[in-house]
Symmetry: C2
Subunit: 257 residues, 2 copies
Protein backbone atom coordinates (compact mmCIF):
# COMPACT_ATOMS: atom_id res chain seq x y z
CA UNK A 1 0.00 0.00 0.00
CA UNK A 2 1.16 3.50 -0.77
CA UNK A 3 2.37 5.76 1.99
CA UNK A 4 0.05 8.70 2.22
CA UNK A 5 2.53 11.51 2.64
CA UNK A 6 6.05 10.52 1.62
CA UNK A 7 8.87 13.03 1.34
CA UNK A 8 9.45 13.24 -2.38
CA UNK A 9 12.69 14.75 -3.56
CA UNK A 10 13.90 15.91 -6.95
CA UNK A 11 12.78 13.87 -9.92
CA UNK A 12 10.59 11.68 -7.79
CA UNK A 13 8.49 14.71 -7.02
CA UNK A 14 8.02 15.55 -10.69
CA UNK A 15 7.38 11.97 -11.72
CA UNK A 16 5.29 10.63 -8.88
CA UNK A 17 3.96 13.70 -7.10
CA UNK A 18 0.52 13.39 -8.64
CA UNK A 19 0.04 10.10 -6.80
CA UNK A 20 0.19 11.89 -3.46
CA UNK A 21 -0.84 15.45 -4.28
CA UNK A 22 -4.08 16.70 -5.74
CA UNK A 23 -3.30 17.77 -9.31
CA UNK A 24 -4.53 21.10 -10.72
CA UNK A 25 -4.88 22.74 -7.31
CA UNK A 26 -2.21 24.63 -5.40
CA UNK A 27 -1.76 26.93 -2.41
CA UNK A 28 -0.08 30.32 -2.38
CA UNK A 29 0.61 32.20 0.82
CA UNK A 30 1.13 35.93 1.15
CA UNK A 31 3.01 36.26 4.45
CA UNK A 32 3.06 39.77 5.89
CA UNK A 33 5.51 40.97 8.48
CA UNK A 34 6.51 44.33 9.94
CA UNK A 35 10.04 45.58 10.63
CA UNK A 36 11.99 48.85 10.59
CA UNK A 37 8.71 50.70 10.22
CA UNK A 38 7.95 48.93 6.94
CA UNK A 39 5.37 46.34 5.94
CA UNK A 40 7.17 43.33 4.47
CA UNK A 41 6.26 40.23 2.50
CA UNK A 42 8.16 36.95 2.42
CA UNK A 43 9.33 35.84 -1.03
CA UNK A 44 11.26 32.91 -2.47
CA UNK A 45 14.02 33.10 -5.07
CA UNK A 46 14.20 30.36 -7.67
CA UNK A 47 17.46 28.54 -8.21
CA UNK A 48 17.97 30.42 -11.47
CA UNK A 49 18.82 33.49 -9.33
CA UNK A 50 16.41 35.39 -11.45
CA UNK A 51 12.79 34.80 -10.52
CA UNK A 52 10.96 35.52 -7.28
CA UNK A 53 7.65 34.02 -6.19
CA UNK A 54 5.24 33.67 -3.30
CA UNK A 55 5.73 30.70 -1.00
CA UNK A 56 3.33 28.04 -2.17
CA UNK A 57 2.76 24.34 -2.32
CA UNK A 58 0.47 21.47 -3.11
CA UNK A 59 -2.29 19.66 -1.29
CA UNK A 60 -2.02 16.04 -0.21
CA UNK A 61 -4.89 13.97 -1.50
CA UNK A 62 -6.22 13.44 2.01
CA UNK A 63 -5.42 16.93 3.29
CA UNK A 64 -7.72 19.87 3.99
CA UNK A 65 -6.77 22.91 1.93
CA UNK A 66 -6.52 25.08 5.05
CA UNK A 67 -4.18 22.49 6.58
CA UNK A 68 -2.06 22.58 3.46
CA UNK A 69 -1.79 26.35 3.79
CA UNK A 70 -0.78 25.99 7.44
CA UNK A 71 1.81 23.39 6.49
CA UNK A 72 3.31 25.64 3.81
CA UNK A 73 3.38 28.56 6.21
CA UNK A 74 5.13 26.52 8.86
CA UNK A 75 7.72 25.10 6.49
CA UNK A 76 8.76 28.59 5.32
CA UNK A 77 8.62 30.43 8.63
CA UNK A 78 8.76 27.83 11.38
CA UNK A 79 5.51 29.26 12.74
CA UNK A 80 2.12 27.75 13.29
CA UNK A 81 -0.94 28.83 15.21
CA UNK A 82 -0.99 31.97 13.10
CA UNK A 83 -3.81 34.11 11.74
CA UNK A 84 -4.25 32.72 8.23
CA UNK A 85 -7.04 33.81 5.92
CA UNK A 86 -8.21 32.40 2.62
CA UNK A 87 -8.98 35.44 0.47
CA UNK A 88 -9.37 34.41 -3.16
CA UNK A 89 -8.91 31.60 -5.65
CA UNK A 90 -7.17 32.37 -8.91
CA UNK A 91 -8.34 30.45 -11.95
CA UNK A 92 -7.16 32.12 -15.11
CA UNK A 93 -6.43 29.26 -17.55
CA UNK A 94 -3.41 31.14 -18.84
CA UNK A 95 -1.92 32.02 -15.46
CA UNK A 96 1.27 30.29 -16.59
CA UNK A 97 1.78 32.74 -19.47
CA UNK A 98 3.52 34.88 -16.90
CA UNK A 99 6.23 32.21 -16.81
CA UNK A 100 9.68 32.95 -18.09
CA UNK A 101 10.75 31.51 -21.43
CA UNK A 102 12.86 28.70 -20.03
CA UNK A 103 10.02 27.36 -17.96
CA UNK A 104 7.56 27.66 -20.82
CA UNK A 105 9.90 25.70 -23.01
CA UNK A 106 10.30 23.03 -20.38
CA UNK A 107 6.53 22.98 -20.01
CA UNK A 108 6.05 22.20 -23.67
CA UNK A 109 8.70 19.46 -23.66
CA UNK A 110 7.79 17.57 -20.55
CA UNK A 111 4.58 16.15 -19.22
CA UNK A 112 5.04 16.42 -15.49
CA UNK A 113 1.87 17.03 -13.54
CA UNK A 114 3.32 20.23 -12.09
CA UNK A 115 3.42 21.84 -15.52
CA UNK A 116 -0.26 21.38 -16.23
CA UNK A 117 -2.84 24.05 -15.47
CA UNK A 118 -3.27 24.95 -11.79
CA UNK A 119 -5.99 26.76 -9.93
CA UNK A 120 -4.39 28.34 -6.89
CA UNK A 121 -6.00 29.17 -3.58
CA UNK A 122 -4.61 32.33 -2.03
CA UNK A 123 -4.13 32.82 1.72
CA UNK A 124 -2.57 35.66 3.63
CA UNK A 125 -0.98 35.51 7.05
CA UNK A 126 0.26 38.17 9.44
CA UNK A 127 3.24 37.09 11.48
CA UNK A 128 5.67 38.53 13.99
CA UNK A 129 8.75 39.41 12.00
CA UNK A 130 11.32 38.59 14.67
CA UNK A 131 9.99 35.08 15.21
CA UNK A 132 10.34 34.06 11.57
CA UNK A 133 13.28 32.01 10.39
CA UNK A 134 12.94 32.21 6.59
CA UNK A 135 13.53 28.79 5.09
CA UNK A 136 13.75 28.24 1.32
CA UNK A 137 12.18 25.10 -0.11
CA UNK A 138 13.88 22.45 -2.19
CA UNK A 139 13.45 24.40 -5.40
CA UNK A 140 14.51 27.78 -4.09
CA UNK A 141 17.83 29.49 -3.69
CA UNK A 142 16.76 31.82 -0.91
CA UNK A 143 13.87 33.12 1.12
CA UNK A 144 13.73 36.65 2.45
CA UNK A 145 11.57 39.64 3.30
CA UNK A 146 10.83 42.40 0.81
CA UNK A 147 9.41 45.83 1.47
CA UNK A 148 5.84 45.73 0.27
CA UNK A 149 6.42 48.67 -2.05
CA UNK A 150 9.67 47.33 -3.49
CA UNK A 151 8.51 43.87 -4.55
CA UNK A 152 9.97 42.98 -7.98
CA UNK A 153 8.10 41.40 -10.87
CA UNK A 154 7.12 37.93 -9.73
CA UNK A 155 6.48 34.71 -11.63
CA UNK A 156 3.08 33.73 -12.98
CA UNK A 157 0.29 35.94 -11.63
CA UNK A 158 1.91 36.34 -8.22
CA UNK A 159 1.95 40.13 -8.40
CA UNK A 160 -1.81 40.03 -8.89
CA UNK A 161 -2.21 37.63 -5.98
CA UNK A 162 -0.14 39.94 -3.78
CA UNK A 163 -2.21 42.94 -4.80
CA UNK A 164 -5.45 41.15 -3.99
CA UNK A 165 -4.04 40.02 -0.66
CA UNK A 166 -3.28 43.61 0.33
CA UNK A 167 -6.82 44.63 -0.63
CA UNK A 168 -8.25 41.81 1.45
CA UNK A 169 -5.99 42.70 4.38
CA UNK A 170 -7.31 46.26 4.24
CA UNK A 171 -10.91 45.09 4.28
CA UNK A 172 -10.16 42.95 7.32
CA UNK A 173 -8.41 45.72 9.25
CA UNK A 174 -11.58 46.72 11.00
CA UNK A 175 -12.42 43.27 12.28
CA UNK A 176 -9.06 42.17 13.51
CA UNK A 177 -6.28 43.74 15.63
CA UNK A 178 -3.47 43.21 13.12
CA UNK A 179 -1.00 44.87 15.44
CA UNK A 180 -1.27 41.90 17.77
CA UNK A 181 0.27 39.63 15.13
CA UNK A 182 2.56 42.01 13.29
CA UNK A 183 4.28 43.60 16.27
CA UNK A 184 6.41 42.14 19.05
CA UNK A 185 4.70 41.64 22.43
CA UNK A 186 5.77 45.11 23.57
CA UNK A 187 5.43 47.96 21.16
CA UNK A 188 4.95 51.71 21.05
CA UNK A 189 2.00 53.71 19.84
CA UNK A 190 4.01 55.23 16.94
CA UNK A 191 4.86 51.70 15.80
CA UNK A 192 1.22 50.67 15.92
CA UNK A 193 0.34 53.79 13.97
CA UNK A 194 2.92 52.96 11.34
CA UNK A 195 1.39 49.50 10.89
CA UNK A 196 -1.98 50.98 10.08
CA UNK A 197 -0.54 53.73 7.91
CA UNK A 198 1.46 51.26 5.84
CA UNK A 199 -1.41 48.87 5.31
CA UNK A 200 -3.85 51.63 4.46
CA UNK A 201 -1.28 53.57 2.45
CA UNK A 202 -2.21 56.90 4.04
CA UNK A 203 -1.38 59.08 7.01
CA UNK A 204 -3.44 58.95 10.18
CA UNK A 205 -3.80 61.44 13.01
CA UNK A 206 -1.65 60.42 15.98
CA UNK A 207 -4.04 61.60 18.66
CA UNK A 208 -7.18 60.17 17.12
CA UNK A 209 -5.62 56.78 16.45
CA UNK A 210 -4.35 56.56 20.03
CA UNK A 211 -7.76 57.59 21.34
CA UNK A 212 -9.43 54.90 19.25
CA UNK A 213 -7.00 52.16 20.23
CA UNK A 214 -7.20 52.93 23.92
CA UNK A 215 -10.99 53.13 23.72
CA UNK A 216 -11.02 49.52 22.54
CA UNK A 217 -9.76 48.67 26.01
CA UNK A 218 -7.50 45.83 24.91
CA UNK A 219 -4.15 47.55 25.49
CA UNK A 220 -2.07 47.87 28.62
CA UNK A 221 0.48 50.64 29.03
CA UNK A 222 3.88 49.75 30.48
CA UNK A 223 6.81 51.89 31.65
CA UNK A 224 8.89 54.16 29.43
CA UNK A 225 10.95 52.98 26.52
CA UNK A 226 14.70 52.99 26.84
CA UNK A 227 17.18 55.17 25.00
CA UNK A 228 16.58 53.69 21.56
CA UNK A 229 15.25 56.61 19.53
CA UNK A 230 16.82 60.02 19.18
CA UNK A 231 13.76 61.74 20.64
CA UNK A 232 11.31 61.68 23.49
CA UNK A 233 10.91 58.07 24.61
CA UNK A 234 7.47 56.72 23.79
CA UNK A 235 5.54 54.44 26.16
CA UNK A 236 5.46 50.72 25.60
CA UNK A 237 2.14 48.91 25.31
CA UNK A 238 1.09 45.30 25.12
CA UNK A 239 -2.15 43.52 24.37
CA UNK A 240 -4.03 42.47 27.46
CA UNK A 241 -4.89 38.88 26.59
CA UNK A 242 -7.98 38.64 28.78
CA UNK A 243 -9.51 41.92 27.71
CA UNK A 244 -8.56 41.14 24.12
CA UNK A 245 -10.33 37.79 24.02
CA UNK A 246 -13.38 39.21 25.71
CA UNK A 247 -13.57 42.07 23.21
CA UNK A 248 -13.07 39.79 20.22
CA UNK A 249 -16.00 37.64 21.25
CA UNK A 250 -18.21 40.69 21.16
CA UNK A 251 -16.82 41.61 17.75
CA UNK A 252 -14.91 44.83 18.18
CA UNK A 253 -14.72 47.38 15.41
CA UNK A 254 -11.75 49.59 14.65
CA UNK A 255 -13.55 51.96 12.36
CA UNK A 256 -10.48 52.85 10.30
CA UNK A 257 -10.73 53.98 6.70
Amino acid sequence: MLKKRPNLAGNEFFEKGHLYFLPHVSIDNVIFGFHDNELKVLLLEWKDHHNWCLPGGFIYRDEHIEDAAIRVLKSRTGLDNIYLKQFNTFGDPVRHLGMDTVTQKKRSQTSSWVLDRFVTIGFWAIVEFSKVIPEPDEFSESCRWWDIDKVPTLVLDHNLILEKAVQSLRLNLNDYPVGKNLLPPKFTMPELQRVYETILGKNLDRRNLQKKMLALNILERLQERKSGGAHKAPFLYRFDQRKYEKAMKQGLKFGLH
Copy 2:
Protein backbone atom coordinates in the same frame (compact mmCIF):
# COMPACT_ATOMS: atom_id res chain seq x y z
CA MET B 1 -7.93 16.80 -32.72
CA LEU B 2 -10.27 16.96 -29.77
CA LYS B 3 -13.08 19.46 -29.70
CA LYS B 4 -12.48 21.79 -26.80
CA ARG B 5 -15.96 21.99 -25.37
CA PRO B 6 -18.22 19.21 -26.60
CA ASN B 7 -21.68 18.59 -25.18
CA LEU B 8 -21.23 15.38 -23.26
CA ALA B 9 -24.36 13.46 -22.32
CA GLY B 10 -24.98 10.58 -19.93
CA ASN B 11 -22.26 7.93 -19.76
CA GLU B 12 -20.00 9.89 -22.06
CA PHE B 13 -19.83 12.57 -19.41
CA PHE B 14 -18.82 10.12 -16.71
CA GLU B 15 -16.35 8.28 -18.89
CA LYS B 16 -14.74 11.06 -20.89
CA GLY B 17 -15.51 14.22 -18.94
CA HIS B 18 -12.04 14.45 -17.46
CA LEU B 19 -10.62 14.96 -20.95
CA TYR B 20 -12.49 18.24 -21.26
CA PHE B 21 -13.02 19.33 -17.66
CA LEU B 22 -10.45 20.07 -15.01
CA PRO B 23 -10.62 17.22 -12.49
CA HIS B 24 -10.74 17.82 -8.74
CA VAL B 25 -12.12 21.36 -9.09
CA SER B 26 -15.77 22.37 -9.27
CA ILE B 27 -18.03 25.42 -9.06
CA ASP B 28 -21.02 25.90 -6.79
CA ASN B 29 -23.34 28.87 -7.10
CA VAL B 30 -25.58 30.24 -4.39
CA ILE B 31 -28.22 32.17 -6.32
CA PHE B 32 -30.25 34.60 -4.24
CA GLY B 33 -33.61 36.01 -5.26
CA PHE B 34 -36.39 37.95 -3.55
CA HIS B 35 -40.13 37.33 -3.85
CA ASP B 36 -43.25 37.59 -1.68
CA ASN B 37 -41.20 39.47 0.89
CA GLU B 38 -38.87 36.52 1.32
CA LEU B 39 -35.23 35.94 0.44
CA LYS B 40 -34.96 32.83 -1.72
CA VAL B 41 -32.25 30.55 -2.97
CA LEU B 42 -32.32 28.41 -6.12
CA LEU B 43 -31.85 24.67 -5.56
CA LEU B 44 -31.74 21.55 -7.74
CA GLU B 45 -33.47 18.25 -6.99
CA TRP B 46 -31.63 15.08 -7.92
CA LYS B 47 -33.43 12.48 -10.04
CA ASP B 48 -33.80 10.29 -6.95
CA HIS B 49 -36.51 12.75 -5.80
CA HIS B 50 -34.76 12.79 -2.51
CA ASN B 51 -31.69 15.00 -2.47
CA TRP B 52 -31.37 18.72 -3.06
CA CYS B 53 -28.21 20.60 -3.91
CA LEU B 54 -26.79 23.92 -5.04
CA PRO B 55 -26.48 24.50 -8.77
CA GLY B 56 -22.90 23.69 -9.67
CA GLY B 57 -20.69 22.49 -12.45
CA PHE B 58 -17.22 21.86 -13.73
CA ILE B 59 -14.55 23.96 -15.38
CA TYR B 60 -13.43 23.39 -18.96
CA ARG B 61 -9.71 22.91 -19.19
CA ASP B 62 -9.28 26.19 -21.06
CA GLU B 63 -11.91 28.11 -19.12
CA HIS B 64 -11.49 30.80 -16.48
CA ILE B 65 -13.13 29.80 -13.19
CA GLU B 66 -15.18 32.99 -13.13
CA ASP B 67 -16.40 32.23 -16.66
CA ALA B 68 -17.39 28.76 -15.53
CA ALA B 69 -19.44 30.28 -12.72
CA ILE B 70 -21.13 32.64 -15.18
CA ARG B 71 -21.87 29.73 -17.52
CA VAL B 72 -23.42 27.68 -14.71
CA LEU B 73 -25.48 30.66 -13.59
CA LYS B 74 -26.76 31.27 -17.10
CA SER B 75 -27.65 27.65 -17.73
CA ARG B 76 -29.82 27.49 -14.58
CA THR B 77 -31.44 30.91 -14.76
CA GLY B 78 -31.11 32.16 -18.33
CA LEU B 79 -29.40 35.24 -16.97
CA ASP B 80 -26.00 36.71 -17.55
CA ASN B 81 -24.42 40.05 -16.82
CA ILE B 82 -25.24 39.50 -13.16
CA TYR B 83 -23.47 40.45 -9.97
CA LEU B 84 -21.50 37.31 -9.17
CA LYS B 85 -19.00 37.10 -6.34
CA GLN B 86 -16.47 34.45 -5.45
CA PHE B 87 -16.63 34.15 -1.68
CA ASN B 88 -14.82 31.00 -0.54
CA THR B 89 -13.23 27.75 -1.66
CA PHE B 90 -14.16 24.58 0.17
CA GLY B 91 -11.47 21.96 0.49
CA ASP B 92 -12.35 19.45 3.17
CA PRO B 93 -10.98 16.12 1.91
CA VAL B 94 -14.05 14.35 3.27
CA ARG B 95 -16.63 16.72 1.83
CA HIS B 96 -18.21 13.73 0.11
CA LEU B 97 -19.00 12.03 3.44
CA GLY B 98 -22.16 14.09 3.38
CA MET B 99 -23.23 11.99 0.39
CA ASP B 100 -26.16 9.64 0.70
CA THR B 101 -25.48 5.92 0.97
CA VAL B 102 -26.34 5.08 -2.61
CA THR B 103 -23.87 7.57 -3.96
CA GLN B 104 -21.16 6.47 -1.56
CA LYS B 105 -21.64 2.90 -2.66
CA LYS B 106 -21.44 3.89 -6.29
CA ARG B 107 -18.34 5.88 -5.46
CA SER B 108 -16.57 2.84 -4.11
CA GLN B 109 -17.57 0.64 -7.04
CA THR B 110 -16.75 2.90 -9.93
CA SER B 111 -13.79 4.98 -10.89
CA SER B 112 -15.36 7.90 -12.72
CA TRP B 113 -13.50 11.16 -12.35
CA VAL B 114 -16.61 12.82 -10.87
CA LEU B 115 -16.48 10.56 -7.83
CA ASP B 116 -12.95 11.52 -6.85
CA ARG B 117 -12.20 14.27 -4.36
CA PHE B 118 -13.26 17.78 -5.41
CA VAL B 119 -12.31 21.19 -4.16
CA THR B 120 -15.22 23.49 -4.91
CA ILE B 121 -15.15 27.23 -5.49
CA GLY B 122 -18.21 29.01 -4.09
CA PHE B 123 -19.87 31.99 -5.79
CA TRP B 124 -22.99 33.87 -4.89
CA ALA B 125 -25.23 35.85 -7.21
CA ILE B 126 -28.13 38.18 -6.59
CA VAL B 127 -30.73 38.08 -9.33
CA GLU B 128 -34.12 39.53 -10.10
CA PHE B 129 -36.58 36.81 -9.20
CA SER B 130 -39.11 37.51 -11.95
CA LYS B 131 -36.54 37.29 -14.72
CA VAL B 132 -35.36 33.83 -13.79
CA ILE B 133 -36.57 30.76 -15.66
CA PRO B 134 -35.35 27.91 -13.45
CA GLU B 135 -33.87 25.18 -15.60
CA PRO B 136 -32.74 21.81 -14.16
CA ASP B 137 -29.60 20.23 -15.54
CA GLU B 138 -29.26 16.80 -17.09
CA PHE B 139 -28.91 15.09 -13.74
CA SER B 140 -31.71 16.89 -11.96
CA GLU B 141 -35.41 16.33 -11.67
CA SER B 142 -36.33 19.91 -10.93
CA CYS B 143 -35.04 23.36 -10.13
CA ARG B 144 -36.92 25.77 -7.90
CA TRP B 145 -36.69 28.53 -5.31
CA TRP B 146 -36.64 27.86 -1.59
CA ASP B 147 -37.17 30.29 1.24
CA ILE B 148 -33.79 30.92 2.77
CA ASP B 149 -34.97 29.82 6.18
CA LYS B 150 -36.73 26.67 4.94
CA VAL B 151 -33.89 25.09 2.99
CA PRO B 152 -33.76 21.31 3.63
CA THR B 153 -30.68 19.24 4.36
CA LEU B 154 -28.56 19.37 1.21
CA VAL B 155 -26.02 16.97 -0.24
CA LEU B 156 -22.32 17.07 0.62
CA ASP B 157 -21.36 20.25 2.46
CA HIS B 158 -23.84 22.42 0.57
CA ASN B 159 -25.58 23.64 3.73
CA LEU B 160 -22.21 24.93 4.93
CA ILE B 161 -21.58 26.59 1.58
CA LEU B 162 -24.99 28.26 1.75
CA GLU B 163 -24.33 29.48 5.28
CA LYS B 164 -20.98 30.97 4.29
CA ALA B 165 -22.59 32.61 1.27
CA VAL B 166 -25.14 34.38 3.47
CA GLN B 167 -22.36 35.60 5.74
CA SER B 168 -20.43 36.91 2.76
CA LEU B 169 -23.54 38.57 1.36
CA ARG B 170 -24.01 40.36 4.68
CA LEU B 171 -20.44 41.62 4.68
CA ASN B 172 -20.95 42.96 1.17
CA LEU B 173 -24.21 44.72 1.97
CA ASN B 174 -22.47 47.96 2.74
CA ASP B 175 -20.55 48.15 -0.52
CA TYR B 176 -23.26 47.22 -2.93
CA PRO B 177 -26.91 48.21 -3.46
CA VAL B 178 -28.33 44.70 -3.37
CA GLY B 179 -31.83 46.04 -3.88
CA LYS B 180 -30.88 46.96 -7.41
CA ASN B 181 -30.43 43.30 -8.34
CA LEU B 182 -32.93 41.62 -6.05
CA LEU B 183 -35.93 43.84 -6.73
CA PRO B 184 -37.86 44.59 -9.92
CA PRO B 185 -37.12 47.93 -11.57
CA LYS B 186 -39.94 49.61 -9.64
CA PHE B 187 -40.26 48.84 -5.96
CA THR B 188 -41.54 50.32 -2.74
CA MET B 189 -39.60 51.41 0.32
CA PRO B 190 -41.17 48.68 2.50
CA GLU B 191 -40.00 46.10 -0.03
CA LEU B 192 -36.47 47.48 0.03
CA GLN B 193 -36.59 47.42 3.80
CA ARG B 194 -37.68 43.80 3.77
CA VAL B 195 -34.69 42.90 1.58
CA TYR B 196 -32.27 44.31 4.11
CA GLU B 197 -34.13 42.89 7.07
CA THR B 198 -34.12 39.40 5.58
CA ILE B 199 -30.45 39.43 4.69
CA LEU B 200 -29.41 40.85 8.02
CA GLY B 201 -31.89 38.73 9.94
CA LYS B 202 -33.06 41.65 12.10
CA ASN B 203 -35.58 44.46 12.11
CA LEU B 204 -34.67 47.93 10.94
CA ASP B 205 -36.29 51.29 11.61
CA ARG B 206 -38.49 52.34 8.68
CA ARG B 207 -37.74 56.04 8.91
CA ASN B 208 -34.00 55.72 9.36
CA LEU B 209 -33.61 53.25 6.53
CA GLN B 210 -35.57 55.51 4.18
CA LYS B 211 -33.50 58.49 5.28
CA LYS B 212 -30.27 56.59 4.61
CA MET B 213 -31.38 55.29 1.22
CA LEU B 214 -32.58 58.66 0.01
CA ALA B 215 -29.41 60.30 1.30
CA LEU B 216 -27.42 58.07 -1.06
CA ASN B 217 -29.06 60.01 -3.85
CA ILE B 218 -29.39 57.06 -6.19
CA LEU B 219 -33.18 56.60 -5.99
CA GLU B 220 -35.93 58.31 -7.89
CA ARG B 221 -39.45 58.49 -6.52
CA LEU B 222 -42.34 57.77 -8.89
CA GLN B 223 -46.12 58.16 -8.49
CA GLU B 224 -48.27 56.21 -6.06
CA ARG B 225 -48.66 52.49 -6.10
CA LYS B 226 -51.92 51.02 -7.20
CA SER B 227 -54.52 49.19 -5.16
CA GLY B 228 -52.42 46.11 -4.39
CA GLY B 229 -52.17 46.11 -0.63
CA ALA B 230 -54.95 46.41 1.90
CA HIS B 231 -53.49 49.58 3.35
CA LYS B 232 -52.14 52.98 2.51
CA ALA B 233 -50.48 52.76 -0.90
CA PRO B 234 -46.72 53.21 -0.70
CA PHE B 235 -44.72 55.19 -3.26
CA LEU B 236 -42.80 53.42 -5.99
CA TYR B 237 -39.07 54.07 -6.46
CA ARG B 238 -36.49 53.11 -9.03
CA PHE B 239 -32.72 53.33 -9.23
CA ASP B 240 -31.53 56.37 -11.17
CA GLN B 241 -28.96 54.77 -13.45
CA ARG B 242 -26.84 57.88 -13.94
CA LYS B 243 -26.72 58.89 -10.30
CA TYR B 244 -26.18 55.27 -9.36
CA GLU B 245 -23.13 54.79 -11.57
CA LYS B 246 -21.66 58.07 -10.47
CA ALA B 247 -22.10 57.18 -6.81
CA MET B 248 -20.66 53.69 -7.26
CA LYS B 249 -17.48 55.10 -8.75
CA GLN B 250 -16.97 57.13 -5.62
CA GLY B 251 -17.59 54.05 -3.52
CA LEU B 252 -20.78 54.65 -1.59
CA LYS B 253 -21.31 53.22 1.86
CA PHE B 254 -24.61 52.02 3.26
CA GLY B 255 -23.52 51.81 6.86
CA LEU B 256 -25.97 49.07 7.81
CA HIS B 257 -25.25 46.68 10.63
